[in-house]
């Protein structure tokens, strides 16, 4: 369903992502882990078609993101970091705009809108401008935007960042509910999240994949059997090497 082949991205002299390849199948929830600045966001931005890769490509449901971006983007729902949306628009207006651009018309559009507002529990704030919402509601509004067209592939950049424990629980529950019929990628640096929702995890450091396996496999690799020791072992080592 989603295939990433040797993705590379250079920003001037900085090689942010250097040859990332992986595959995700339907029903999998892939945790995308790594320290800050490891290249998680850049990789996601390339898969979603926001940034053009320097080399390599990604295929979404058979559509190549570099040669057929519009079709590929139709298959993807994307929740960017920090959940951006237009401050002056109300929640309903914003979601209606997204529905428009996603090709919904008439009654179909109203249905999509209502169902996503119910699903993400946005009813209370639907007529409020986005700029006045709390962090949790912003996150949910942007999440609603990502799933409004029931995408085959859902990509989320730190979806639980800055949420309180209850809200985190809700988001994780929603991810789990949707997981069976979708490909889901979740980036995070919260390791407990991997145990909570992911069926598989990739650890990326300095633009390279350093580990790829189920949470249990990753734990087994460390001496203590704990995910964060494993994470520190793999990424600290790399960082020190990179710094000299």
């Amino acid at each position: 369903m989603l295939e990433v082949k040797n993705l590379c991205k250079n920003f001037g002299d900085i090689r942010a992502v250097r040859g990332v390849s992986f595959e995700v199948k339907k029903g999998e929830v892939l945790g995308f882990l790594g320290p800050n600045g490891a290249g998680k966001t850049t990789t996601m931005r390339m898969i979603t078609g926001f940034l053009p890769p320097t080399a390599g490509t990604a295929t979404v449901c058979g559509y190549d993101i570099t040669t057929n971006p519009v079709e590929a983007k139709k298959q993807v729902g994307y929740l960017p970091e920090n959940a951006p949306a237009y401050d002056s628009m109300t929640v309903t207006d914003f979601l209606a705009f997204i529905a428009d651009i996603r090709g919904f018309r008439g009654q179909e559009k109203n249905n999509a809108l209502e169902s996503v507002i119910q699903k993400c529990r946005l009813d209370k704030v639907r007529h409020q401008p986005f700029g006045t919402l709390s962090k949790g509601y912003r996150q949910r509004t942007c999440f609603a935007q990502a799933i409004i067209h029931n995408p085959a592939v859902l990509i989320m950049d730190e979806p639980t960042d800055g949420l309180d424990p209850n809200q985190k629980h809700v988001v994780r529950q929603m991810i789990k509910d949707m997981a069976p019929e979708k490909v889901i990628i979740v980036s995070t640096h919260i390791l407990e999240e991997v145990d909570a929702v992911c069926t598989r995890a990739i650890i990326i450091s300095n633009g390279i994949i350093v580990a790829n396996g189920t949470p249990a496999e990753l734990k087994a690799k460390s001496n203590t059997g704990r995910l964060d020791d494993m994470f520190r072992m793999l990424t600290l080592d790399k960082e020190e090497k990179a710094n000299g």
Binding site: L51, V70, Y78, Y86, D100, I101, R102
Partner: protein
């Protein structure tokens, strides 16, 4: 078809966002008060004894210089500042559709402002018998002129995430386009380099706007404005492609 639908969706959102904020109304009031004041008071409209819109069209390029950059400064810089550009450009649309939607929205907004100056026409018609052809040509010219300003503002807006910088850059760029064909400037240059002065002037907003004001819509002027807009939109495309994540 899809392409047009996407353009329309972007266009609608942009127009709505103008009118959702009080800025649009403030903008309209300032535009109308300013053009009214300059036309009626500063150029002594009533004492000229000629029923035409010359004083109005004379001031328009200068009013645009201040106000159009204010209307366009947020088009892309605000998307970049708020991070919504990431949302917009990961939708199943092309960059061209997004650029066109925004450009047409801003252009229509300015055109609407120009349309709201109709009391000046009514006044002129009441006082005398103006040349209708010249008036229509003048208004069409004004709308094309506005399109050129908007396209420049859109380009500078794509270059930065700061609305203030976008505004200042647009003002400077537009000022160059205006001054290149403004008589006091061209006059000074034409003494020692007449060919060069003429060439530079032919790139100016003013030169082409003045000929339209006389009531003649020359194909060359239309082509000129269309080329300026096309160039600016293509440049916006290039800038966004290179710097959208910056």
């Amino acid at each position: 078809m899809d392409s047009i639908r996407n353009c329309v969706a972007i266009f609608k959102r942009e127009i709505k966002s103008y009118f959702q904020a009080p800025v649009a109304y403030v903008f309209m009031i300032v535009f109308l008060v300013l053009t009214g004041f300059l036309t009626f008071s500063v150029t002594r409209f009533y004492e000229r004894q000629t029923a035409d819109l010359q004083p109005f069209f004379f001031w328009l390029p200068w009013v645009f210089l201040l106000l159009v950059p204010a209307a366009t400064m947020g088009l892309w810089s605000e998307e970049r500042r708020a991070g919504t550009i990431e949302l917009l450009l990961t939708m199943p649309i092309t960059m061209f559709e997004a650029i066109m939607g925004k450009f047409l929205a801003a252009w229509l907004f300015i055109a609407l402002n120009i349309g709201l100056t109709f009391p000046i026409i009514i006044t002129t018609c009441y006082l005398g018998e103006p040349d209708t052809g010249a008036m229509i040509a003048g208004y069409l010219g004004a709308i094309m002129l506005a399109g050129a300003y908007v396209s420049v503002g859109m380009l500078t807006s794509s270059m930065t995430r700061s609305q203030v910088i976008s505004f200042v850059l647009a003002l400077v760029f537009c000022l160059l386009f205006v001054l290149a064909g403004w008589d006091p400037v061209t006059g000074a240059f034409s003494k020692w380099a007449p060919r060069l002065a003429e060439l530079v002037a032919s790139f100016s907003f003013m030169t082409h706007f003045e000929s339209i004001q006389r009531g003649v819509i020359d194909l060359r002027d239309v082509v000129y404005y269309a080329s300026v807009m096309t160039f600016m939109l293509v440049a916006t495309h290039v800038v966004l492609n290179n710097r959208k994540s910056a």
